[in-house]
Amino acid sequence: MERLAFDVAHFFAGSLVLVSLMLLYQDRLSALINVFAFQAVVLALSVAWQAYVQGAPHLYLTAAIALSVKAIIIPVALHRMIRRLGIHREVETAVNIGPTMLAGLGLVALSMVVILRATAAADMLAREDLAFALSVVLLGLLMMVTRRNAVSQVIGFMSLENGLILAATGAKGMPFVVEISVAFSVLVAFIVIGIFLFRIRERFDSVNLQALDDFRGEIR
């Protein structure tokens, strides 16, 4: 059981990293959203598995939230937004996909080194989980900095949050405050982002941040 538990958790966590890399690979917005939804599904599975292994039923709630919000509601909303706003279908990249992938691999390696070196004393599961979570966080951040349009940046951010949830659930016995707050933050984040996107659209015809960035408060 111990072995199996570890292997399954390891598998899910690893999958999350893989999906994060896949996110980086996408060059179409709709595909990107789909992959993100898939990541949310994997995350939900992972969290559910943790709930089962740790015998922590409240984690099922987290899994459910992840599944419903991130895998269904948000992707659907984003799809509609793309259609309604007539946003470019391409993911506009600041750095080409190839180098981004390479950088992503480097980040995964870095997080492995950092974490594995750090927690020699901790148990395997936590260690591996943490390493993968860190990878997902860094990859999400990488996505935010290498993609130009707002939708992909938002997805990058949410992917980052996925990593956080992975880490939080992996930390056995973490007080539930944290899960709630994570979910809460994701929710609020999304709502506020939505509000802002709405307002931004009100004034500019695009959610591309570029249009906003041209106006930076100070004249150059």
Partner: protein, 673 residues
């Protein structure tokens, strides 16, 4: 009445000045505010000066000290008055008395009294506090406070772009100075924060660090005193302030800087090393020469005076450098001589420079002009001011029998003792210093012939000058007071030297021989070496001039006829034909300007047959400004422009920055453990 310890009395004076300043905020615009503020400042300064002089004369071995529960919490605000402090306090408060007296009259013409009155007593309080401070925090607090108050005074006439620039340069240089001093004190205090002067004296500074402390002390006090190349603010800021404040800044505040330097080096830093003298002498001599050369090239009367201040500061630092050299080699008597010369010159300069600035202020009031090219003929219109300004000019030109000569004579005597120094560096350096000192003195005389001659003599060059009237009696009284003191200090230098003896004793550990014997002549070492008697010289000059006058008037002729001036048979009544300040300086500019200012003269002659006038263009460069400050300003600007792009990045790029830092730190962690 219970006798207050001097330090307490002095602190009460400081407090009183602060209160006056605060009160002036409320009443600044009233007509009578001037009387109240300057009157009170005058009284308080006089009291403080008296206490200081009394302390100087009594010269108790232990200073009078007090710790107030203010300032830095765990050490409190330490104040102490010893003889060194008492001397400088006396100099400062004497200047303050004169300036307040002058302000009573001069202030009538002030267009923005509410911008002067609150800061004037506060400025005085700041200077007093610097001298009284006995811990690093209080010292720097007062130091910067003084700078700030004087900055506010410089900004009095803020509508003038020039003045704003002056204020800006001043406050930045003042901050530089404070920070440098802060570093110096930080080193002396050590990591445990022994910020009191007593603690610094007690545990001393490691010899390796002494050089660093000296460097920062030179930087810090030099920037306030006006050492080249830290002087750039001085000729801008001193003239910008109202004239009595200019007098305080030039005549008095620079002395506070000198005090700081003496306090740090001789008192706190521990045993003096001979090599300290090298940077000090170099800085001093460059300052003196460049200062006076610049003064010679100025058209603005007050600016010329400000540059002349730089020169005198240079002279004082030269004397201090000599004192280092002697002290470091154990030549006690010579060190005492050099130190006496420095302190004597401190006193002298404060007297005549205040006097001259008052004179310039009187001219400014009477004519509204600071440009010498627009003045002239004032001697006939403002005879009293003219005479007093002349006395100041003679004194600052180091001519006997006035006081400037006495102190410079002592300096030259000190230089003559320096061949006995063992170090080769000094053997080669000091003669050169002496030569430059002599050059600077001679140039100073030329400078004041020019300043006085162009401004007061000749025919008026503008309507403003020809309509000028004598200034009010209070202003003249202030000037007369200083002029009399100049004469007294020049004629009776022996008394001054003896009064300085306890200070010199405290600083160098020995003193000059008692001077007030044998006809009051001053004898630095031995009568066979050299001696000078100001009183006798004065007496001789006066009596022989009287004899000559008497003889000629009685035996020959005393008839006098007024006639037009000789015009070479080419009548042109215009005062424009007179020599101007620029043309007066032209020979000297030809001789020295090419080197010191890269001066170039260009003559544009119209072709033959063309009736248009020929033109002479003179270009001069302030090399210090161009080679030190402009590059710094350019560098700061370039960096500011370059970094400013960071204000205009996209959010994505900002995130990249965060991301970059994160990855960097992770890499550090990965490679660290």
């Amino acid at each position: 009445m219970v006798a207050l310890p001097p330090i307490v009395a002095n602190l009460w004076c400081v407090a009183a000045l602060l209160v006056i300043g605060a009160a002036a905020v409320a009443i600044g615009k009233r007509n009578w505010a001037r009387w109240l503020v300057y009157g009170c400042s005058l009284t308080v300064s006089a009291v403080s000066c008296t206490i200081a002089v009394a302390h100087l004369i009594a010269a108790p071995a232990a200073g009078s000290e007090i710790v107030l529960p203010l300032g830095l919490p765990w050490i409190g605000a330490n104040f102490r008055i010893d003889v060194l402090a008492a001397f400088f306090l006396a100099v400062i408060d004497l200047g303050a008395v004169a300036a307040s007296l002058y302000g009573l009259g001069y202030g009538r013409h002030e267009s923005a009294p509410e911008r002067v009155l609150p800061f004037f007593p506060v400025f005085l309080a700041g200077m007093n506090m610097v001298i009284l401070a006995a811990d690093a925090f209080t010292f720097l607090f007062a130091w910067e406070f003084m700078s700030l108050a004087s900055w506010a005074l410089v900004m009095t006439h803020h509508r003038d772009e020039e003045n704003r620039r002056a204020g800006y340069v001043y406050i930045v240089m003042a901050s530089l100075g404070t920070l440098a001093l802060l570093l110096a004190f930080g080193l002396m205090a050590g990591p445990d924060g022994g910020y009191t002067f007593a603690a610094m004296r007690a545990h001393g500074t490691p010899p390796g660090l002494a050089g660093l402390v000296l460097a920062f002390a030179l930087l810090g006090t030099g920037s306030k005193a006006g050492l080249v190349p830290l002087h750039v603010w001085l000729p801008l800021a001193h003239p910008a302030a109202p004239s009595h404040v200019s007098a305080l800044m030039s005549g008095v505040m620079t002395k506070v800087a000198i005090y700081g330097f003496i306090r740090i080096t001789f008192d706190l830093l521990g045993p003096v090393s001979w090599w300290w003298s090298v940077p000090v002498l170099l800085a001093g001599v460059v300052t003196a020469t460049l200062g006076v050369l610049s003064a010679l090239m100025q058209n603005d009367l007050k600016r010329a005076l400000a540059y002349s201040t730089i020169e005198n500061i240079g002279l004082i630092f030269v004397a201090l450098g000599l004192a280092f050299a002697f002290q470091g080699n154990g030549m006690k008597a010579a060190a005492a001589l050099a130190m006496t010369a420095a302190l004597f010159h401190v006193l002298n300069h404060s007297l005549f420079k205040s006097l001259l600035f008052f004179g310039a202020g009187a001219v400014l009031n009477a004519t509204g002009e600071r440009r010498m090219e627009k003045l002239g003929g004032l001697q006939n219109r403002m005879p009293a001011t003219g005479l007093l300004f002349l006395i100041g000019s003679v004194a600052i030109s180091a001519l006997p029998p006035l006081n400037g000569f006495a102190s410079e004579w002592l300096m030259l005597q000190a230089i003559l003792l320096s061949p006995d120094l063992p170090q080769w560096a000094l053997k080669l350096l000091i003669p050169a210093v002496g030569a430059m000192l002599a050059l600077a003195t001679a140039l100073a005389a030329a400078c004041f012939v020019r300043a006085f001659g162009i401004s007061f003599l000749g025919r008026p060059r503008s309507a403003a000058a020809s309509d000028a009237h004598e200034v009010d009696r209070l202003s003249i009284a202030a000037m007369a007071m200083l002029a009399v003191l100049c004469l007294l200090a020049g004629v009776l230098p022996a008394f001054v030297i003896d009064a300085l003896a306890p200070v010199v004793q405290a600083v160098t550990g020995t003193r000059m021989p008692v001077q007030t014997v044998a006809w009051l002549s001053i004898v630095p070492i031995a009568e066979s070496r050299s001696s000078y008697n100001g009183l006798l010289v004065f007496f001789f000059i006066v009596s022989s001039a009287s004899i000559a006058a008497f003889a000629i008037h009685r035996l020959a002729s005393d008839r006098l006829r007024r006639a037009p001036a000789w015009d070479c048979g080419f009548p042109d009544g215009s005062p424009v034909t007179q020599y101007t300040a620029d043309s007066f300086a032209q020979p000297l500019r030809r001789v020295f300007g090419g080197f010191a200012f890269r001066a170039r003269e260009e003559v544009h002659m119209p072709p033959p047959g063309d009736g248009s006038p020929a033109r002479l263009t003179v270009t001069m460069h302030d090399l210090v400004w161009e080679f030190i400050y402009e590059p710094i300003a350019r560098l700061v600007n370039a960096l500011a422009v370059r970094l400013n792009h960071l204000q205009f990045l996209t959010i994505r790029r900002y995130l990249s920055l965060v991301f970059g830092v994160l990855v960097f730190l992770l890499l550090v962690l990965a490679s660290w453990g």
